[in-house]
């Protein structure tokens, strides 16, 4: 909504010493955010009133004239112009050099410069209304007509800025309609003025609400009082289509609408003033001289003002005459029966329609009109009084000869005032400080509440315009008091800290330790991918569609499946990064989903299965080291992150792994995850071109964090240990686990150093280098003991795994 300061002035006198920016700030802090402050005069810079002193022929062009013009500067200026109505002695609109005008009212503004036209100097430009943003207010009769203030009877001074002349030197506060959703009373300038009156404690110019009396009734029937609680019809004769007066066109323009003709403009003006939609029907088109508010019959049709032909259903409320629908109730008028050029008598509708029906119907026909926007926020029935009164006084002003010949107020349901008690004690506690009773009463009264104080309790009646859903509980009243005082004026209240118990969340801590371990110890980069994954990657990871949860309206048709695993996301990230990197490690921690039943909060709510997964991948050129990198990350995870040890087994082959290189990750006897090289199929199907990759996936819900550090201190060895390296040759079929298993009881420490195959190593064999430490618990080893122990180790290796020394 555009709030025009000139419009507001009709209902409140704002102090002149407050800047518009301050006004915008105060409204933002207390009521609704002002997104922009527009000074409408800005675009009229250097566009002024000039007086034509003399009109001369142009020596080189028949269609052009030379106008000697006084623009309020030291000398008379020569301006070349092709206008059809150039008259010496008349005041016209002149754009001086620097002004920005729009050629023929179309396209981007162009900056005026001093120039020559067909050889004659021209200082600036004498303009038509459309060229200087006045096309809606001064409608030109022909294309070449220039704005002639004298002819139009508009008072002005030579040199005066045209924005000022036309009342377009306004300031507009722009508010997003969305932020007004909860405040139907602010959808008109009258309501906004009331807020300012409360904010600045100023008088508010209340409007009269009395209705016509003693007139014949016009026949109105409301069949659906739930959908239409009030309908007033006023018959006004002896009117005709004409332009609205200047002041009204200007205000309508400033507030962001276009003037059309006086009959329509009156209804739009009332809409913008008090937020009450109205509609005028050509009374000769209302057959049977009666109005019926009813539901449409299935199959009934209505042609709207915007030429849209509607097929109505029985959920759509329509305003009808004795025979046909005339209007889609509260949304848009019908083309055939609204104001026409030939109209001489109107039926003015000022009615209230309830929000839910309006919302359904606007959504059904996709008709978001100014009227519908207001009705769907909930309008009180009492507002119609303001609407009727204002409209009729405008009719009398603009059509002094009009006759109000009939009036009916069909009013089956009244908006009840919300009745709410609020205690001083509640306010004191929740506001955190004591606000005086006089202050509370003053604020509430200014906002329209009726307040009756009795022994610590304020018995409040909310105004009807706040009683359509906005205000219903005492917290709402507290909010009104707090915001009008201004949140910034309340003393800050420090928060106490309770030491009743410590915050001890080992699971939460574990999740963080895991991430920090992978990032800082293992050198993995954390990534985020979407929970919906492209089918290609889901399928590449060997997941079938039926194992996934799907979205009803996915971001794209290929992204309808929610991930049951993080591996598809790893694949997509590898594809994305292999263009720039050939060696990288990534990880992601996120929830995955699969069909199943899960009740996180209550038994009546059943969600699909959620699992908290952690997955990582290492991508590079050479497969085996990638596998060991991932294996190392998992092997060391438990000791660095302080949870129960992980081991490996090979029980259940996951879908995404390589034929040769995979293991299940075990915690005790439970499988908690997998590691492996990504299968050749997975890499191919995902579109990984050059790299190999290994990955792990871990269900972090299945690992148990230690409540604290658990490893016990071990005494340092009292006697020195002897460290030995050993290179052995074994058959390819011999595993490290066999080697280690055969001697680990004989040594204090055993380490794998490297595996080697190459020229010096016979086919079918591999060389293993290992390192171990030996020592006595009660003495320093003698060289004899050392020799004996080493010999024994070599013997065992020979016997158990057929090792030869290298």
């Amino acid at each position: 909504m555009n709030i025009s300061m000139k419009f507001l002035e009709r209902y409140i006198d704002l102090p002149k010493d407050i800047s518009y920016d301050q006004i915008a700030y105060d409204l933002t802090m207390r009521t609704v955010e002002v997104e922009e402050v527009i000074k409408t005069a800005d675009k009229f810079h250097d566009i002024v009133v000039g007086e034509i002193k003399e009109v001369k022929a142009h020596p080189n062009a028949d269609a052009l004239r030379i106008c000697m013009t006084d623009v309020g500067e030291d000398e008379i200026k020569q301006i070349v112009c092709g206008g059809s109505n150039l008259t010496a002695g008349h005041k016209v609109c002149v754009s001086k050099p620097g002004a920005e005008v729009v050629w023929h009212g179309e396209g981007e503004p162009v900056v005026i410069t001093e120039s020559k036209l067909r050889g004659e100097k021209s200082y600036g430009m004498i303009c038509g209304s459309e060229e200087v943003y006045l096309g809606d207010i001064i409608v030109p009769k022909d294309e070449k007509e220039i704005v002639d203030f004298t002819e139009l009877g508009i008072e002005c001074e030579v040199g005066q800025n045209v924005a000022e002349v036309m009342g377009l030197d306004d300031v507009i506060l722009v508010v997003d309609n969305k932020s007004l959703s909860n405040r139907p009373d602010l959808w008109g300038h009258y309501g906004v003025a009331r807020e300012f009156a409360a904010i600045y404690k100023l008088p508010f110019k209340e409007l009269p609400e009395n209705l016509p009396e003693g007139l014949p009734e016009y026949k109105v029937t409301i069949e659906e009082p739930d959908r239409c609680p009030r309908f007033t019809a006023t018959k006004i004769d002896n009117v005709y289509v004409k332009e609205s007066p200047q002041w009204m066109k200007t205000l309508i323009t400033n507030a962001g609408m276009r003037p059309i003709n006086a009959l329509v403009d009156i209804t739009n003006f009332v809409l913008m003033a008090v937020g009450q939609p109205q509609h005028a029907y050509d009374s000769t088109h209302v057959k049977g001289d009666e109005i019926v508010v009813r539901l449409a019959k299935d199959g009934e049709q209505l042609l709207l003002l915007d030429e849209k032909d509607l097929d109505l259903t029985s959920d759509h409320l329509v305003i009808c005459d004795a025979e046909h629908p005339l209007n889609l109730a509260g949304i848009k008028g019908g083309k055939d029966d609204s104001v026409l050029d030939s109209t001489t008598s109107v039926i003015l509708e000022c009615a209230v329609f309830t929000a839910p029906g309006i919302r359904r119907t606007t959504a059904y026909f996709n008709e978001k009109t100014d009227a519908a926007l207001r009705y769907e926020k909930g309008i009180d029935t009492q507002r119609a009084n303001l609407g009727v009164n204002m409209a009729l006084s405008l009719f009398k002003e603009i059509y002094p000869d009009c006759v109000i010949s009939a009036f009916t107020d069909c009013y089956p349901v009244q908006t009840e005032k919300a009745v709410i008690d609020i205690t001083q004690d509640f306010l004191d506690r929740r506001l955190g400080e004591v606000v005086e009773r006089t202050e509370i009463e003053d604020i509430l009264t200014r906002l329209g509440y009726e307040v009756d104080y009795d022994n610590g309790t304020y018995h409040c009646k909310a105004p009807t315009w706040r009683s359509t859903g906005d205000v219903s509980i005492h917290d709402d009243i507290l909010g009104d008091i707090a915001r009008i005082i201004g949140y910034e004026y309340f003393k800050k209240q420090p928060l106490g800290i309770s030491f009743e118990s410590s915050v001890n969340q080992v699971k939460v801590d574990l999740a963080r330790k895991l991430k920090e371990y992978l990032a800082f110890r293992c050198g993995f980069n954390e990534i985020f991918t979407y929970p919906w994954v492209e089918e290609k990657y889901i399928h590449a990871a060997g997941i079938s569609d039926e194992d996934t949860i799907k979205l009803a309206t996915p971001p794209s048709p290929e992204q309808s499946m929610l991930r049951p695993s993080l591996i598809p996301g790893m694949l997509s990230a590898i594809v994305g990064n292999e263009r720039y990197f050939d060696d990288f490690c990534i990880f992601e921690s996120a929830q995955v989903f699969e069909p199943g039943e899960y009740h996180p909060s209550s038994d009546d709510e059943t969600l699909p299965m959620h699992r908290n997964y952690l997955s990582g991948a290492a991508a590079g050129r050479d497969a085996a080291p990638l596998f060991y990198k991932i294996k190392g990350a998992i092997e060391n995870m438990a000791s660095y992150c302080h949870f129960e040890e992980l081991t490996f087994a090979q029980n259940e082959k996951p879908k995404w792994v390589d034929e040769k290189a995979w293991l299940n990750i075990m915690s005790g006897s439970d499988k908690v995850g997998d590691i492996g090289l990504l299968s050749v199929v997975a890499l191919n199907d995902a579109g990984v071109k050059n790299l190999k990759a290994a990955a792990f996936e871990l269900d972090t819900d299945k690992i148990t964090p230690y409540p604290s550090r658990t490893n016990a201190f071990k005494h340092l060895p009292l006697y020195p240990l002897v460290e030995q390296d050993l290179s052995i040759l074994v058959d390819e079929s011999v595993k490290w686990a066999d080697i280690a298993g055969s001697i680990d009881k004989m040594v204090k420490e055993l380490k794998f150093v490297e595996e080697y195959r190459g020229k010096q190593i016979p086919e079918g064999k591999k060389s293993i280098m290992l390192s171990y430490k030996i020592g006595n618990d009660d003495s320093t080893m003698t060289s004899k003991q050392i020799e004996k122990k080493m010999g024994a180790i070599v013997n065992v290796l020979q016997k158990k795994v057929g090792a030869e020394l290298r």
Partner: protein, 345 residues
């Protein structure tokens, strides 16, 4: 003989002072004081001298020996003081050895900073699941039955549930607030907790809009606390995150699950509140909505609104991280692009 000793002494001192490093000095030591040194030769030949001579030559030789070892020690100290472990040249401009290159996502880093700040104030950390139901995402939170956010244009409903209602209509959670009721049902009141997480909206994406983004919500439920405590909490948190005092303002705002509700703006850190492109010339940036928990939400959590009250604040993590680093496209957060992520080590 004494003359010879004079010669040994001066030559010896010369060699000591000209030794250029510790190794050279060691060689000099051997040469001057070793078994085959000239001095030793002289001492060996003492037996052949007359007693007087023997005495004076012996004394002199020992004097020289002591002098040598004293000077060698001195020289050694000098040499060690200027010695280096490096043989040859060392290029100090070569880059140092790389460290492990991993990093946490910048959103995670911000989240942990906030966690640390809230933990220090005694808050628990809670997380709700990504999939929720209409009951928890909307009904419990006082959203009107026909609120537009419930439409599939706004929320990602799960296939097969989209036409159902309440408990049976499931969605990717559109905000974190639903989790507050889950926590309160489980733990009761009083409570103070944060619940960070990712939320999902059916939106058209551009540099400022994402379908998946991160929020960080905090809730305090207690007796008789004022909304103005909320402002203290927020100022404390922002100061911790940005490392300096950040001015905030609280203004009127409206959300179904709060009454009253407010918007919290922080002074733009780029221009210091003067107005710049980043803050749309306003000087303020909307960082978080908040408000006093609506009585209907407390009721949904089985709490009596006459006894309990509390306030929410919800921080848009993406926007905060964008402010922290000057990131200009929110979509980068989900890009998994390491060229971007590696900048946040």
């Amino acid at each position: 003989m004494l003359e010879k000793l004079e010669g040994i002494q001066s030559q010896g001192l010369e060699s000591i002072s000209s030794a250029s490093d510790v190794d050279a000095l060691e060689a000099v030591r051997k040469e001057l004081t070793g078994k085959k040194s000239a001095l030793q030769e002289v001492l060996k030949s003492l037996g052949g001298l007359d007693p007087d001579m023997r005495k004076s030559v012996g004394m002199k030789a020992n004097e020289i020996k002591n002098l040598f070892s004293e000077k060698i020690q001195e020289r050694e100290k000098e040499l060690v003081a200027v010695a280096s472990s490096v043989k040859g040249e060392l290029d100090l401009t070569l880059p140092g050895t790389a460290v492990a290159s991993g990093a946490l996502h910048p959103i995670t880093q911000m989240c942990y900073d906030l966690n640390d700040a809230f933990r220090s104030l005694g808050f628990e950390i809670y997380s709700e699941d990504d999939i929720s139901s209409e009951k928890y995402a909307f009904d419990n939170l006082n959203f009107a039955a026909d609120h537009p956010a419930r439409a599939s244009m706004d929320t990602y409903w799960l296939k097969g549930t989209e036409d159902k209602r309440g408990n049976d209509r499931l969605c990717l959670r559109p905000h974190l607030t639903g989790g507050s009721v889950r926590y309160l049902l489980q733990h009761g009141a009083p409570a103070r907790f944060v619940y960070p997480g990712r939320v999902y909206r059916n939106e058209t994406t551009d540099a400022r809009h994402e379908r998946a983004f991160f929020q960080y919500e905090a809730l305090i439920v207690d007796k008789d606390i004022s909304f103005s405590s909320g402002r203290v909490m927020i100022e404390t948190i922002l100061e911790k995150v940005f490392g300096r005092k950040v001015n905030v303002r609280m203004r009127e705002g409206f959300f179904p699950f709060t009454e009253p509700g407010y918007e919290i703006d922080m002074e733009c850190l780029l221009c210091g509140g003067k107005g710049c492109k980043a803050c749309n010339q306003a000087g303020w940036i909307e960082v978080m909505p908040g408000g006093v928990i609506h009585p209907n939400v407390l009721r949904a959590a089985n709490l009596d609104p006459d006894v309990w009250t509390g306030f929410y604040t919800n921080i848009g993590l993406d926007r905060l991280v964008m402010m922290r680093y000057g990131v200009d496209d929110v979509r980068l957060f989900h890009s998994a692009d390491l060229r971007f992520l590696e900048q946040f080590k």
